[in-house]
């Protein structure tokens, strides 16, 4: 500590620290801490992007309770949206340089391939909802891990009536059903529709019939043999 080298380092550290202080978001940090107290062990993870956004991840059984806490205690009265994310990567290859789409028999290893986004995750399906406080103008993204392939979770309708249609959409698109929902029928799709289109393993049939347009982009124009002739064509 007493050597001149370390004092220089200390000076450098001090000059950096105030800059870090600038982007620390006390309001959102305090908010996450306070929610942590309310939900206890049901809050699994949180993530704050200073001045921009907040994420929290809760357990499946605390899904409705979270909405209640957010609505009643934090006055998050504006219901923004409710959706889900399928974290199991699609078995169909979609790389730009892939010659053809992969097929079912080419399926990747499922469990090891799953990578979750902010706040992490454990299961294939994650619910994602966002509510907002129009007075303080702070929004929060809420995530919840859902167990099993056809999960069931409590509906948010008692707290946010606007969740009604969003939950119907999630039901038909992801196969996640909501208990105590008054009208759990398809919103967009016909009643007899089979499958859940937004799941990653639901094939996009137009991609089967016709290759992914990324390939079309590198397709040669008539009269062009390869890249060299293309370049020479531009020069002339």
């Amino acid at each position: 500590m007493s050597s001149p080298d370390t004092t220089e380092e200390e000076v450098v550290e001090e000059s950096i620290e105030p800059q870090e202080d600038l982007i620390i978001d006390e309001e959102r940090d305090a908010f996450v801490e306070s929610i942590q107290k309310d939900l206890g062990s049901d809050l699994i993870g949180s993530h704050v992007v200073p001045q921009i956004d907040v994420w929290i991840r809760v357990t499946q059984k605390a899904w409705l309770e979270t909405a209640r806490v957010l609505f009643e205690k934090y006055e998050m009265s504006f219901f923004n949206f409710l959706s889900a994310i399928d974290w199991k990567p699609s078995p169909f290859g979609r790389e730009m340089d892939a010659a053809i789409d992969n097929t079912d028999d080419n399926e990747m290893g499922i469990e090891s391939e799953m990578e979750w986004g902010v706040t992490g995750g454990e299961t294939r399906f994650q619910l994602l909802a966002r509510v907002h406080n129009p007075v303080t103008n702070i929004g929060i993204n809420v995530k919840a891990d859902l167990e099993s392939e056809f999960p069931e979770v409590d509906t948010w309708i008692p707290v946010y009536p606007g969740a009604n249609w969003h939950e119907r959409e999630v039901m038909e698109m992801f196969g996640i059903s909501f208990t105590n929902h008054p009208n759990m029928v398809n919103l967009y799709l016909p009643t007899e529709f089979e499958g859940h289109p937004l799941r990653k393993d639901f094939p996009l049939l137009s991609r089967r019939a016709k290759p992914w347009p990324g390939i079309v982009d590198v397709e040669l124009m008539p009269g062009e043999d390869d890249d060299e002739t293309e370049e020479s064509g531009e020069e002339t």
Partner: protein
């Protein structure tokens, strides 16, 4: 004997009559009325199954999906620059505004910021598309209530705004002009003066609507006190934009949200109305067009010089992460939740469109209203079917 018989008869008739009256009150036959799928009030194909008791609506059940195009699935097989072509088609009356939140979300993930000139031009086009969109509403709402003239004025004057958008972007309806890191082209020569002339026309259009529609006694009786949405109900259904501001909620993302547009550098005002009825929704939108004119005028005077594109790689790969960006679009709050895994294509895009939430309140707000008011309430909520079905 005669007297006795007649009193018996009278009491019998009275009993029957009262029974009949009870029957009339309790066991009237309900009627199911099918509104749509194609109705001028719906801007597309929305079907509403209305159960009626006499003239009153018992329940209303919207049926959607006639226009569902699966954009959320399609974005998963499109590169980021290709997605703007898709999202142009969500709200087709204010297309440019659809691109902006998506581009801003991608820019946030890539940590790129558009240069000032690009941001100013972006905001100008954003507000012009709002004008083009809402001007049509101002005429269209009147035609729902039986006044045919205003809608022709609206189409006439909207055309000038579309011309201005076209001369910059090349597209009247689907500009596809916004790029990650900036915009595609600079403004053409003489555009600023032409746009100023158009704004004069739009202002006089607003004054015309003020006289023709807002000042009209029939319009007022058809809309005042009809379809009242209290602020707390509206918020819990996720109503946004002018719909929630006309319920007295002073909340506008252009002022309150910290997105990459330059509204905070302009002098303008957020209008609210305390009533929350159909009239308030019309009135607030009329003021918003005027405010937009004011904003565009200031932008035209103050566009800074400089580049229009930041440095971005030619092949755009967005770093892994998640971002949600929402902006105050003509119909309300529109946002994109992007999940990126570092590929050329988004892993998942959740499109939060304004009309979807705005229309989800219809079962609540239509309960108990009279049949003619169904049309005026639907028209005043102002939705576009592409924005509901996505």
């Amino acid at each position: 004997m005669n007297l006795e018989a007649s009193t018996q008869q009278l009491s019998y008739i009275a009993n029957q009559a009262s029974d009949a009256r009870v029957n009339i009150e309790l066991e009237t036959e309900g009627m199911t009325l099918n509104l749509g799928p194609q109705h001028p009030a719906t801007h597309g194909t929305l079907r509403i199954i209305v159960r009626l008791d006499g003239e009153q609506v018992v329940s209303a059940d919207p049926v959607m999906g006639y226009m569902h195009r699966g954009y959320e699935k399609l974005t998963e097989v499109r590169t980021y620059p290709q997605v703007t072509t898709l999202v142009n088609r969500i709200d087709w009356l204010g297309s440019f505004a659809n691109e902006v939140p998506f581009i801003l979300a991608a820019e946030r993930l890539m940590e790129v910021e558009a240069p000032p000139r690009a941001q100013w031009i972006r905001t100008a086009l954003f507000e012009l598309s709002r004008i083009a969109n809402v001007v049509l509403f101002l005429g269209d709402m009147a035609v729902q209530l039986g006044a045919t003239t205003p809608v022709f004025y609206a189409f006439r004057d909207r055309e000038f705004v579309l011309n201005q958008i076209e001369s910059v972007t090349g597209g009247r309806f689907h500009p596809n002009f916004d790029r990650i890191g900036g915009i595609k082209d600079d403004l053409p020569k003489g555009w600023i003066q032409e746009t100023k002339d158009v704004l004069v026309r739009i202002r006089s259009f607003c004054d015309e609507m003020q006289d023709l529609v807002v000042g009209n006694e029939i319009f007022q009786t058809r809309t005042r006190g009809i379809g009242i949405i209290p602020a707390d109900i509206g918020l819990s259904y996720g109503l946004s934009g002018a719909n929630i501001r006309s319920s007295g909620v002073d909340w506008d993302l252009r002022r309150d949200g910290g997105v990459g547009l330059i509204h905070d550098q302009l002098d303008w005002k957020v209008w609210t109305h305390p009533d929350g009825d159909s009239f308030a929704r019309y009135w607030v939108r009329l003021q918003e067009v005027r405010e937009s004119c004011k904003m565009v005028d200031q932008i035209l005077d103050g566009i800074p010089s400089g580049p229009i594109m930041a440095k971005v790689p030619r092949i755009i790969k967005v770093p892994p992460g998640e971002a949600y960006v929402e902006t105050e679009n003509p119909l309300g709050i529109m946002g994109y939740y992007i999940v990126s895994k570092g590929d050329l294509v988004p892993y998942r895009v959740k499109i939060r469109s304004a009309s979807f939430n705005n229309v989800s309140i219809t079962p609540w707000v239509l309960k108990g209203v009279y049949v003619p008011d169904v049309i005026s309430i639907l028209a005043s909520l102002y939705f576009i079917l592409g924005d509901i079905d996505r």
